[in-house]
């Protein structure tokens, strides 16, 4: 079983790298599914069969489906990949990669110095987990239910697409140069010029592409 740990660990790392490097969102999600299943195997090898199953069912099942659903909803075509290619120049990788590698180095160094404690020497059965869950952790379950309620209410409220019935009045948002904004906006004089200046260069192309769709 040690082999299962190391092999699925390696698969998890590689497929996770795949997730963050892919240009196409669906491909990335497939890599994510692979990664999650690999992690589920790791769980299994560490003697945690219950969460291994949950990892597959909920993570790889439910959550990934949510992602896929949104991708379908937005109908992101190949144009998305083109954008991604343009955004993901080698240069953008340098800083984050350096930071990430330093972090890995720090963690590996610290963890490597640990005296060797074996993990996964015994299996923690689903029964044990459930007893603990509804024993000492019962309040945690209640809180998790309220957490889900918060997520539900939030997703419901934010899911409303009211941007279409919104009048075409732009926001007067100019933090540093916002001195003149308010009364101009109040008069209803469109501030399009300043808004354009603020973000136009960024959104412009994207918006055009969106409109082409």
């Amino acid at each position: 079983m040690e082999a299962v740990f190391y092999i699925s660990g390696a698969i998890a790392v590689l497929s996770t790298i795949g997730v963050i490097t892919r240009l196409n969102a669906v491909h990335a999600l497939l890599y994510l599914v692979v990664s999650l299943i690999a992690v589920a195997l790791v769980f299994y090898s560490l003697g945690a069969p219950f969460v291994a199953a949950l990892e597959v069912i909920i993570y790889a099942g439910a959550i990934i489906v949510l992602f896929v659903f949104v991708i379908m909803l937005l109908n992101l075509g190949p144009q998305g990949s083109r954008e991604e290619r343009q955004w993901l120049s080698l240069k953008t990788w340098v800083g984050p990669a350096v930071l990430g590698v330093i972090l890995i180095a720090e963690l590996v160094y610290t963890f490597g110095l640990q005296p060797s404690h074996p993990a996964g020497v015994s299996v923690v059965e689903p029964q044990q987990v459930s007893i603990a869950l509804f024993g000492p952790y019962v309040l945690g379950v209640e809180m998790a239910s309220l957490l889900l309620l918060a997520g539900l209410v939030g997703a419901y409220h934010l899911g409303q697409r009211d941007d279409f019935r919104r009048p075409a009045q732009p926001e007067a948002e100019e933090s540093k140069t916002g001195t003149r904004s308010d009364y101009l906006a109040h008069e209803g004089r469109a501030l399009s010029s300043s808004t354009e200046k603020g973000a136009g260069s960024e959104i412009g192309p994207a918006r055009l592409k969106g409109d082409e769709q």
């Binding site: 800083g95 330093i102 972090l103 720090e106």
Partner: protein, 631 residues
């Protein structure tokens, strides 16, 4: 009944809060009910407290009421504690009493003007601050009241802020008294640092134990307190703000001069008398400064044409007497004079206010005259006030208090004939300038017809204060005249008694007679110069020499303003101009610029991009882990 003590300062504050909160929404006719009523109730509370204090004096002749502890950090536990003893009782009663009548007078005097509510809000705050100052049991609370009084004087002197001169006068009062305040604040730090407490009674006890008389600590602490007192009490060399403070409405002047503000310095020195006793050199300085101030201000008063400026200089001069008394250790005499002065000076201001109001804001005495028939009430009360100010013997309150000061200036342990002589010269001047006012204003030919007469609301305060300006003196009769020192013996429960070097009844009698006669001579001179206008004297020194150098010097208050302008203001402005691009400036500029540079640098990090922020967190994570694990 003593438990009511907290109401005394609380009521004016409550009035202030009510008036400030209601703002302009409150109709003008309701304003006096709150503004005057709060001080009236405060007076009532003060009287109740005083009666029960006198009827059944608390143990140790002092009552302290801890309302709460402000905060408690280690040994620093400043309490909001009121402390009532003989000294503060006299102060409280005088302040609330005179304050109430000034408020009553203002209800009519200020009616119809703009900012009626605002005026009473400030006045209530003024009285409340002064009462806090007087009742404070520790120097921190006293300082709070001290600053409150300063703030209110600033607000009230500049009450008619549309006129830029008033704003200037207010600023001047604020800045000049700030000099004293700064010294006082340093003094507080010094005292807390070396004695470990700011409780006045504790610190005096500890100072007496720990500080040797004349030691450097005692000297510097007393000197710093003295500078603070000089600023507030308008004594040399910080007196220049007071004449300009006339810019405020007349009741404000009355309040500043009679009941609040300027007497704060006198009170501070009397309150901390142990510190001054430990620093004989500083105490001598108090006497000398008082003596010089009273003389110089007397000369200046003699030359002014503005009736309120005469009164202002006379205040400086009379406070000088109080300082003289404090300096020679005549503690009770100083407080006695404070009391009588509060009566007659408020009376004079209020009566002068009537004159000024009925002549349509005319301040120039040379344009007044002959008003004694048309404004009889103002005339008679003003006359009483002037008589009391000039210290007419036997019949006026001022006569008794001033005589007491003069006698102790000669015979007191720290006294000397020199100080006495200066005081006598001052008394001569006082008589002269007081009656110069009376003759110029109320006698001679009438130059302007008064346009309105004072109403009853204005009359009551005048009559009451006039009565007290006469009767107030009988509370403390000297040995030569019945020997009934009620006030002194009461005050000596708190203040140390004055040590008379060689008590001799005949000396006291002779000195008393001299002190009684000298003002009369001064009045006679005034009579010759300003009433009879005898040809021989008509072109007397002052009138003729109106353009003369000495006259001009006196008129300008001995040129202190000019001097300060040349010595401090102009060099300062010059240096500021010259230094515009200079090193010192660039240091400050550099700090500013450094701040701006850092601001720009850091603002750059707030790029608005969430990935950038995440990178900040990641970088922070790497650094934090590195420090946590490897440092």
């Amino acid at each position: 009944m003593l438990q009511l003590l907290w109401l005394v300062p609380a009521l004016p504050f409550a009035g202030f809060v009510l008036l400030a909160l209601s703002g302009r929404r409150l109709p003008d006719r309701w304003v006096p009910f709150i503004g005057v009523g709060s001080v009236g109730l405060s007076l009532l509370a003060a009287v109740l407290v005083a009666t029960s204090f006198l009827a059944a004096p608390p143990p140790g002749y002092a009552y302290s009421q801890t309302l709460w502890t402000w905060m408690s950090v280690g040994s620093f536990t400043p309490g909001i504690t009121l402390y009532l003893d003989a000294l503060s009782l006299v102060m409280v009663v005088v302040v609330t009493f005179v304050g109430f009548f000034i408020h009553l007078y203002s209800a009519e005097f200020m009616a119809g003007g703009e900012g009626y509510g605002r005026f009473f809000a400030y006045m209530n705050l003024f009285v409340g601050s002064m009462l806090t100052l007087v009742l404070a049991s520790n120097l921190l609370l006293l300082y709070l009241g001290w600053e409150g009084v300063g703030l209110c004087s600033y607000l009230l002197i500049g009450f008619w802020y549309q006129d830029s001169y008033n704003g200037y006068a207010a600023r001047k009062a604020f800045v000049v008294t700030r000099v004293g305040d700064a010294a006082l604040a340093i003094g507080l730090f010094l005292i807390f640092n070396s004695l470990g407490t700011l409780e006045i009674q504790d610190l005096m006890r500890r100072a007496a134990q720990q500080w040797a008389p004349g030691s450097a600590l005692a000297l510097s602490a007393a000197a710093l307190l003295l500078v603070g007192a000089l600023g507030k009490s308008a004594q040399l060399p910080l007196q220049t703000w007071l004449p300009d403070a006339m810019a405020g409405p007349t009741p404000v002047s009355a309040l500043i001069h009679a009941a609040t503000m300027v007497t704060a310095g006198v009170y501070l020195i009397a309150r901390t008398n142990v510190l001054f006793a430990l620093a004989p050199a500083v105490q001598l300085a108090v006497a000398v400064i008082g003596a010089v101030t009273l003389l110089l201000a007397g000369f200046s008063a003699l030359t002014q044409w503005d009736i309120k400026r005469v009164l202002a200089y006379s205040t400086i001069s009379q406070i000088g007497y109080m300082f003289l008394a404090l300096g020679v250790g005549a503690w009770t005499a100083a407080i006695f004079h404070f009391m009588t002065h509060a009566f007659f000076k408020s009376l004079l201001f209020l009566a002068a206010g009537v004159v000024i109001m009925s002549l349509d804001e005319e301040h120039d005495m040379f344009k007044m005259g002959g008003l004694r028939r048309s404004l009889p009430l103002a005339f008679w009360t003003f006359l009483v006030g002037a008589a009391s100010l000039s210290a007419l013997p036997l019949v006026t309150a001022g006569g008794y208090s001033k005589e007491s000061i003069l006698y102790q200036a000669w015979a007191g342990q720290a006294g000397s004939p020199w100080l006495w002589a200066v005081g006598i010269a001052g008394a001569f001047l006082t008589g002269m300038y007081s009656f110069r006012m009376v003759f110029l204003t109320f006698f001679g030919e009438m130059k302007q017809q008064p346009s309105k007469k004072p109403s009853i609301d204005i009359g009551i305060p005048l009559v009451v204060l006039a009565a007290l300006s006469i009767a107030g003196g009988y509370i403390d009769l000297p040995r030569t005249l019945g020997n009934l020192p009620i006030l002194s013996s009461f005050l000596q429960n708190t203040l140390p008694p004055t040590v008379i070097a060689q008590p001799a009844i005949d000396t006291e009698l002779v000195l008393g007679v001299i002190a009684g006669v000298v003002p009369l001579i001064g009045i006679y001179f005034a009579y010759l110069l300003f009433f009879q206008r005898r040809p021989a004297y008509a072109d007397g020194p002052t009138r003729v020499a109106r353009g003369g150098p000495l006259y001009r010097l006196w008129f300008a208050g001995w040129g202190f303003d000019w001097l300060y302008d040349r010595l401090i203001v102009r060099p300062f402005v010059w240096a500021a101009r010259a230094d515009k691009d200079d090193v010192i400036d660039s240091v400050y500029d550099g700090i500013t610029r450094l701040n701006v540079v850092f601001n720009n640098l850091l603002s750059g990090t707030e790029s608005g991009r969430v990935r950038w922020y995440a990178a900040g967190i990641a970088l922070g994570a790497v650094v934090v882990i590195a420090i946590g694990v490897f440092a």
